[in-house]
Each structure stands twice: as structure tokens, then as C-alpha cells.
Amino acid sequence: MILDTTEHAAKTPDTPLPWAELGLKPDEYERVVEILGRRPTGAELAMYSVMWSEHCSYKSSKVHLRQFGEKAPASDTMLVGIGENAGVVDVGQGYAVTFKIESHNHPSYIEPYQGAATGVGGIVRDILAMGARPVAVMDPLRFGAADHPDTRRVLPGVVAGIGGYGNCLGLPNIGGEVVFDPCYQGNPLVNALCVGVMRHEDIHLAKASGTGNKVILYGARTGGDGIGGVSVLASETFDSTGPAKRPAVQVGDPFQEKLLIECTLEVFAEKLVVGIQDLGGAGLSCATSELASAGSGGMRVELDTVPLRDSSLSPEEILMSESQERMCAIVEPGHVDRFMEICEKWDVIATVIGEVTDGERLEIYWHGEQIVDVPPRTVAHEGPVYQRPYARPDWQDALQADDPSKLARPAGGDELRAAVLALVSSPNQASKAWITGQYDRYVLGNTVLAQPEDSGMIRIDEETNLGVAVATDGNGRFAKLDPYTGAQLALAEAFRNVAATGARPLAVSDCLNFGSPEDPAVMWQFAEATRGLADGCLALGTPVTGGNVSLYNQTGDTAIHPTPVVAVLGVIDDVTRRTPIAFAEQGQLVYLLGETRDEFGGSAWAQVAHDHLGGLPPAVDLEREKLLAEILISGSRDGMIDAAHDLSDGGLVQALAESCLRGGNGARIVVPDGVDAFTLLFSESAGRAVVAVPRSEELRFTDMCGARGLPATRIGVVDGDALDVQGEFTLPLTELLAAHEATLPAIIA
């Protein structure tokens, strides 16, 4: 076997290379040749092909994502913006919080347990690489139809993977979503979010600077997992005798990651690193090229020093390996010994694999021979950018014209009662306790709220009770009907969920899950959703701090619903003032905040009762969302409300059912005169919440709403042990609970 060195490549311009098999387009390969002035070596080709992939380069989405920067609202809380491993937000008292949401969709379909587990591991390392201690995770999930046989394969594996990794890592899982829809059948969405906390002065960035500084690879040994398409290079072109097929899904070891976290935080605390990057997608190729690209000089790496799990790996495979639980740090020579001591203390393997040079090239050597010599920016940051054609699909008008007003609605108390039971027991609205009961929500001892609350809340200072809240939301049905509005509805819902717990929304991270960008209809959905989200963030004053795009979520020509999942982070000065969803005290007054219109397009009721998706999603009024949020935050801070629950999927009746069940108290609800009971209970108008107000605070609360112009309607009282909609129906909580809790276990068992 001949090592494909740069020298060899220059001498053998006509050697055929499998660039097409590695996913490069002809013009992309031409560009590589142009950049290098010769054909790439096998190692270089591997690097370019993976770094210029859609996943790493954002080549189809970049032109649209720019809006998040261009339209970013003025914010004095953003400390680090888009482009780093994760954005960082100032939450006061010298604390900074970093959070980010990412997808691990495709691996989780192929191998649900490891796909989901390594999704958690990857996002946790992103947060760690910013200098923060990871403090919580969340997982928004989408599966195919609840009763489809393959859902029984995918869902338990994904849940066990998230639990198996997160529980063993010692991070509380504080929320997320679980949604079933046939559109996700072959493309489940496994998104993972992590939140981390640090002091302002501890922020770290991914850059390699300072000539002579050492490049240290530490953590797990490098193995043959996660190599994916690059094995084409290794097994077919260069070494037909080597191990051919390697698993494309990585295998996680949460124990190793736990050690990596503690070790890294100790290294940070002693200020031993100049720059740091985690190894995720594209492994060492990504870490070395990004660190070098962001830094001031070049980098030289001795690839044969990388500790291996499998000594038969080729240099190309080592560069591409996505073995988990690895980090790469840039350390001044004088700090290397201490760095190594700390790694030894935590039983973490650490190796100096190279150093920062004063040149402008990333050079990689294999037993002394040069196999890579590239300008790092061309690999990491100057990949191709596409203006993909997009066009409003020809079916969009017909979809929007298919109005839900023609659907038969329940009439009378008995039919309403049956509709409520059908709703709360439907897979999407049923209790998710079967899933969340497999996640540790207590570890670290700072979990103030966790699912099924509106947002997860974590205390970050035990003395001052400063805390943060995070909610993730997305509604693919709404986005299918109108991607612009659907994205804003996801944002508005997450924003509302954070405010409902009493926290002030500060910043956004998003995970944009879509079909193939090569389909103009999908690209239109993407363009519309990003435009909607950017406009929405500007209106709400919450900048996008980072996120992730997942494309090609489709089977054949059928794409998933466009599914922008939006995470909103908020801050709360005193977590003891948080507002839960539970109706905890009998006699408290139930108020509906906001206005209810006849809005059923994309609603849970239309899905459950009629399997219908058509019409327009609910209208968005972001000024109203801001006002509602202010009322919810003030009400929480000043002790005027004891419970609050945002109204979204399933409308008022779903929220009432959840608040009653959570608190173990019933509610007596009176439908106001002249209001249609069905619309009141099931409509999904945005900008609404239900709250429980102690009688002693009623006047103060209604005065506040009145003065600020937020409609507040008294609709009943917390009372008894049934959800009693007077004159219509009564549902004992025991019956409600049984309906709500039985569904998921029955599906999975």
C-alpha cells in the first residue's frame, strides 16, 4: 500500500479519486483542485468531502441563516453569538449561560439507542467547550404514527439511549417534547439540548493561536466508529485488504464523557487552555481545521501519535472518525505538564498531537510524511454556498383552502365530554410519564421545575436563588400549513412557556428539521420558516444564539412536515417565585388570559377527531405575546398567581386537564354567556394562558391586566375532584387520569 502523500499527489495528477462516492459534486471537486493547485491526497479529499457536506458546511441553509444575524434584535445580554460551539448569554450576577439545540435524526433511525445517546453526548461537549459546566439536558422528539410497528422499535431505543447516556452522565433531563405523526415514520427527529453555566471570565473559544502552543487531544481513544462514507476511501481505493465495513453510527460511553467533563472543568479552572474544541461530526478533520482557521497561525499535526482503539485504521479514517468523548485543546508549552497531571487524575488519556505554527497552513503528517497541506479556512469556513432554487409548492393553496370549518363539531355535553377524553388520551396529548420517568431529573440538586411543567427550571446560585428556564416547542402541522407563521408559533409558544413559569425570555436556539434542500418546495418551506423565525425574534427582542439545521429528512419524495423546533432561554431572579402548572389550592380563581378565536387549522382536535390537516394555523400577534409574558412574569414575581399554564396543543381544555391532574384538584368552569363551549375549550388561538389567582389577589391582578390592556376572563374556580364544565359535562379526575396515563404504556408494551 502506497501512502498518498502530498508529494505523491503532486506527481500523480491522474490518479482517479472517489470524490463522487464521498458526496462531492463535480464543481466542488474542481474547486478543491483549484485551491490546492494539484489533486488532493486521500486524506485531504476525506477532509474536504466531510467538511463540505451539508451537515458540516450548511451550504444550502447559510444564505437563509444569515437573517438571524442581520435581523438580530439589539441585546445587551449576548456575550458570544452565532458561529461558536454555542451562544452565550449574560444572566446577571456575573453568570453567563450557554445553551444549544442540535439534531441527531438520521443516526437515531438507523440505531435508536446509540444514535440518541451520542446526540446527548455531542451537545453536552459543545456546551462544555464554551467553558461551561453542563447543568441540564432536554430532548424534543418526533416519531412516526404511535401505532406503527416501527415506532415500537425506534421509540424505546431512543428513550433508553437518552436515559442511558444522560443518567450516567449525571445531567438532569428537565423537559422536551414527544410528538407522533406519520410524516416522521422513516425520519424520526431526535433533537437534544444542553444548558451550561459559567462565570463571564470563564468563556472559552475554539481557536488555535500562539506559535509553539501545543495541540492536545484528550479523552477516548480513536476507533473506527462513525466513519460513514469515508470508508469508501479506505477500503476500496487504498487498501482493499483492510477491514471494510465500519459502523456509521457512533457508540457512546457516558462514563468517559463524565470524566471528560470533570477533567475539562478542572483544566479551565486553572486557566490552562488557550482554545478548545470538541470532536463531533467530522472528528479530527473538523476540530483541527476549525481551530486553525479561527486562530492566527497554522497548525502541524502528527497523526500517527493519535491513540487508537484499532491499530489497523488508515490515516483517512483517523481523520474522519467520529469516535465520541474526545476534545482538542490548545495549551501553552509551560502548562502542558499540569494539563497532563489533571488528565491523569481523572484517568483521561491525553496526547500532544501537534502544535500551532506561524504559517498559514494546516499540515498533517503520518510517520513523518506529509499527507495534508491545506489552507484551513478553505476546509472549515469557506466551503461552498448554494442559492438553492425555491418555490411555493403547488399544493399549498389547496391545503390552505381545506378549511376545518367544514368538520363536524361535537354538540352538547355528552359529545364534548367524549371529545375531551379522546383528546387527552390521544398519543400527542397523553401523559409522557412513561418516557420521562426513565430520565433522572433530580441529579445535581438544582432542578426547580421539570416536565410536565411549561419549562424546565434550574437554580444556578444557591445563595441568591438566581435561575434559568428553558422551553422547547415546535408544531410541524402548523408549519406545514404556513411555514412562516408556523415558525413564529413555535417561537411564541416557547417564549410563552418560559414566561408562564415566571422567567424573562432572553435568547433563542433553534433546530431546523426539514426535507431535502434539492426540492424547491422544501427549500421554500425552509426559507419561509427562517424568515418567520428571524422576524419573530426581532419582534420579541430575543436573538438567535446558535442552533442546527437538519436537512434530507425525507423518504423518497416525501418530506417530513417542516419542523422548526425553537428553544427559548429565560432568566428568573428568584427561583422560589417560580410558577408551576398545578392547581394546588381549592378556592383559587381560574382566569383565561388572551382572546379565543375560532381557530382550528392544524389543531389537535382536527387531528384526533378527523385526522385532518388543512386551513391556516392560528394567527400570531407577537406584541400580544410580549404583553402576556409581562403579565405572567409580574404576576409570578408579585405573588398574584399561584399557577399558570400556556395554551397550545389541545387548547384550554387540555391545559385545564393538565393543571387539575398535576395539582390533584378539580375545577368548576363556567362558559361565559354568548361563548361557544366547543370553541372556548378546543380552539388553539395563540397568545393565551390559564392562571390560578388567590382570591386575595384578584383585584390587584385584574387591575394589572386591565391597565395594560390584556383581556382576562374569569372562567371558574379550583374546586372539587372533577373537571366540571357547568351545564355541559363533568369528568372525575380519576377518569381523566386513567385516560391520560394509559395511552403511552399501551402503545409501547
Partner: protein, 225 residues
Amino acid sequence: MTARIGVVTFPGSLDDRDALRAVRLAGAEPVALWHREKDLQQVDGVVLPGGFSYGDYLRCGAISRFSPIMEMIIEGAKEGLPVLGICNGFQILCESHLLPGALTRNDHLHFICRDQKLRVENNSTAWTSSYEKGQEITVPLKNGEGGYIADERTLDMLEAEGRVVARYLELNPNGSRRDIAGVSNAAGNVVGLMPHPEHAVEPLTGPTTEGLGFFTSILKQLVNV
């Protein structure tokens, strides 16, 4: 002078900070101990916290049991040093043969995290004297391998000697024999408990504050001495 209670951090310990916090809230002085040290720093009692030490590789607790600090703890426990093992700590105590029996995979095969009701069966151990005998408490439980097993003779002996410290009520969450949630050694200074009292010490973050009693018990005993 208050009591000094050590909490051991093994590689993969997760609830060590929580245990240190619980010790502090109970009014004792928390002392962080490191698995590689052969030094107990003159602590008056030791907590082995929950987590996945060594990733649960081989068997839960099987590797930690051989760490340098465990030599000191095993020696100390035999001479009366109070030791509380919570969850993974319980598993380590069983692997160390300081407690009888073993902990096996939950019978339903899933990890489970829930607020668990318990009955304190024995309030004469070093770690349970703050409770009434028969007191019912609710504390978080979270484990994948929490099914307590021992042979019938051992179980009978534990019952007869009053060494069942706590029992699950209403629901047996993991298939433990005779609903056993915790046991003690014959002297009562070593207690293993599968649920997590250190997560029920603050109204803000726990389902109750009924876990605090384990930590005030040891303080009471040590200060009285």
C-alpha cells in the same frame, strides 16, 4: 464542634455534590473525599453517593470496591465508623461485603425515576434515629439496577434481626425481595439505601424534605457521643 461527614467521589459518581449539600443542610461539616486517597481526613462518618462509578462496568460497584479509599472505609466500618451507601453506594457496600445481598437489574428492565414512598422500619441505626419507627416518608428513587436480592435464609435473618431499614410502600419500583429499600449491618453503623434521601432536603428541589433525617440522625448520634 460539629461532626465531619465525608462524601467519596469515585470516577463516575454523580450525586456527590448533592450528598455534600445534604450534609451541610443537616448542620454537619461536609468533607470531599477522593477515591485514590488512603486518607479519611478524620471524618466521623462517610457517605458513598449515587452515580455510575466506573460506568457500572463489570457489575455496579464491583470496581469501586477495590479503590484505595475503600480499604480504609472497610476497615473503619468494621470498627464502627458510620457509613451510608446511597444507590451506587449501596451497590459498593454489597460488593465490599459490608452488607449482605446484591442489587440486580430492575424487574421491568427500565431505569426508573419517581417520588417513592417508604416506611422506615428501623430507627435504631446510625443513620435513621431522627425518624419514628414506622414513619412513612417520600424521597426520590432513581435506578436501573435496584432490585435487592439475597437468599431466603439471609432475608429471614435480616427480618429477624431488624436489619431491614426501609421498605417500599404502595409500589415496588424494581422487584426488590420483600420490598426492601435499605438494609444495615448487624451493628447498625453501615446502612445501604437504594432511594435518594439527599434529593429530598429542600422544599425547592425535592418532593419533600423528608430525606434530611438520614443526615440529622448521624449528626445527632455523633454529637451525643
